[in-house]
């Protein structure tokens, strides 16, 4: 008999459907193996990527609140993300709906008159209920720690990753701003290390794990971003790591896809493979190589997990 899967809301975010399908596909693959059927909220849109930081231009809250309201309307009481930016925006928007009465009032007034049209029947729905911040927003690393449990993960491991010397790279959005948002203590986090240990990797500590990679400055100030990214990768190398694990598609862009530009600025730079944490988990759980999307990387990461040039596991 096939075990019935638990339904769970998942918000992928736009980058995962376009530029980092490897992150999306490995999320689906691992969650399937762990017994979950993922539901994407109907008609989801971009979350806005950046939480509005001032008190007046708050229209940026409309998109994330609308997504959360949709999860609620579909009967969900939790939604998880893997992208650190989406996680941060959804979680902060949710928090604002609980703690900031003025934002709650203004955004709900704005969203009340949304019109949803049923694709099949053409029926229109409007007059939406208020959203009060009652869906919990989780990052997959938290969901694994708190709801799936490392024990279950360990019991399902199919491949040995003990030769993978990896640094966990948190970046900014999983941990800050300090307060109620982060998935762990911003100054001394350990959740990512625990995750990597439990999937069998050799975890290396390094001082740049919470530093910013340059974020969106890689577009507007590319040199500054290259330097920030270089400092992170260089520190990982000096501390003895062979690969970097992360969860954010923008960190991945800056730390992997821009390695050619880092090299232009710092000729002594050595390329280093960068993985999404879900790729390492998928590999450990026995998922096929094609699903991992390793051909999307700038720095070929295959040999780091024991695949030779012709695609054979060694």
């Amino acid at each position: 008999m096939v075990n019935k899967k638990t339904k769970l809301h998942y918000y992928p975010g736009c980058t995962l459907k376009e530029k980092t399908t490897n992150l999306d596909n490995t999320t689906y693959a691992v969650m399937d193996l762990l017994g979950y059927e993922l539901i994407e909220p109907e008609n989801w849109t971009c979350c806005g990527a950046e939480f509005p930081l001032t008190e007046e231009k708050i229209v940026g809250l409309a998109a994330p609140v609308r997504i959360l309201r949709q999860v609620k309307l579909e009967g969900g009481n939790e939604v998880f993300t893997v992208c650190s930016f989406c996680f941060n925006v959804l979680k902060r928007a949710n928090e604002a709906m609980v703690t900031d009465p003025l934002k709650h009032k203004r955004i709900n007034a704005f969203l009340k008159d949304d019109i949803a049209i049923d694709r099949v029947t053409g029926e229109k729905t409007t007059d939406f209920p208020e959203y009060n911040g009652d869906v919990s927003v989780l990052h997959l690393l938290e969901f694994i720690r708190d709801e799936i449990g490392y024990e279950k993960i360990r019991s399902l491991l199919k491949r040995d990753l003990s030769k993978v010397k990896v640094v966990p790279y948190y970046g900014c959005r999983l941990l800050r701003p300090k307060g109620k948002i982060g998935i762990d203590e911003p100054d001394d986090p350990s959740i990512f290390e625990e995750f990597l240990e439990n999937i069998g990797c050799e975890v290396i500590d390094f001082p740049f794990k919470q530093e910013c990679c340059g974020s969106y400055l890689s577009l507007s100030m590319p040199d500054a971003a290259s330097e920030a990214s270089y400092n992170i990768l260089r520190s990982a190398e000096l501390n003895g790591a062979d690969v970097v694990a992360l969860s954010c598609p923008l960190c991945y862009y800056n730390l992997d896809r821009r390695q050619d530009r880092i090299k232009e600025k710092f000729p002594e730079f050595h390329e280093m493979p960068v993985f999404f944490f879900t790729q390492l988990l998928a590999w450990a759980l026995g998922v096929d190589e094609e699903v991992l999307g390793l051909d999307q990387h700038f720095c070929d990461p295959r040999s780091a997990i024991g695949i030779d040039k012709s695609g054979v596991e060694i």
């Binding site: 975010g13 736009c14 980058t15 376009e18 530029k19 980092t20 971009c46 806005g48 990527a49 950046e50 509005p52 930081l53 001032t54 008190e55 007046e56 231009k57 940026g60 992208c83 930016f85 989406c86 900014c172 941990l175 800050r176 701003p177 300090k178 911003p186 100054d187 919470q210 530093e211 910013c212 340059g214 974020s215 969106y216 400055l217 890689s218 577009l219 507007s220 100030m221 040199d223 500054a224 330097e227 920030a228 400092n231 598609p249 923008l250 991945y252 862009y253 896809r257």
Partner: protein, 135 residues
């Protein structure tokens, strides 16, 4: 020696607007410099994060308008996690950018993206950079 500070009306208004927009209490900063010591982009900045706050405290809008530092803040919140007064400089920089925006053009708009990069850029980076640096 005592120095008495007296602000002009427009300076006073600027300070109040930054306080209000950012949601931060600018006056609580005592210039310890923790923010600047942790900021990953100071190496490129013309003025340091603590100096952004100081210029706001002094109502010096004109000097801030010309500052490159406002556009080097990546909203990484390292300063916020370290400031003993809990000030979030990313909020302050964003508030100042909003206030000076109407006087200039977009700092970074779609025309700034090199064509050869269009294919590789992650969506979230485009959305984020426009959110931050264009109207």
């Amino acid at each position: 020696m005592r120095i008495k500070l007296k602000f002009e009306e427009n300076e006073k208004k600027f300070i109040d607007r930054v306080n209000e927009l950012s949601g931060e209490n600018i006056y609580s900063c005592y210039q310890c410099g923790c923010c600047s010591s942790g900021c990953p982009f100071v190496f490129e900045m013309d003025i340091l994060p603590n100096q952004i706050i100081r210029l706001v405290q002094m109502g010096r809008e004109e000097e801030l308008i010309g500052s490159k530092a406002l556009f080097l803040c990546a909203s990484c919140f390292t300063c916020q996690s370290r400031c003993p007064k809990g000030i979030n400089i990313a909020n302050v920089a964003e508030a100042v950018r909003h206030l000076i925006e109407p006087k200039g053009k977009d700092y970074f708009g779609p025309q700034e993206i090199p064509v050869e990069l269009a294919d590789e850029l992650p969506q979230q980076a485009l959305v984020a950079v426009y959110r931050k640096f264009s109207k």
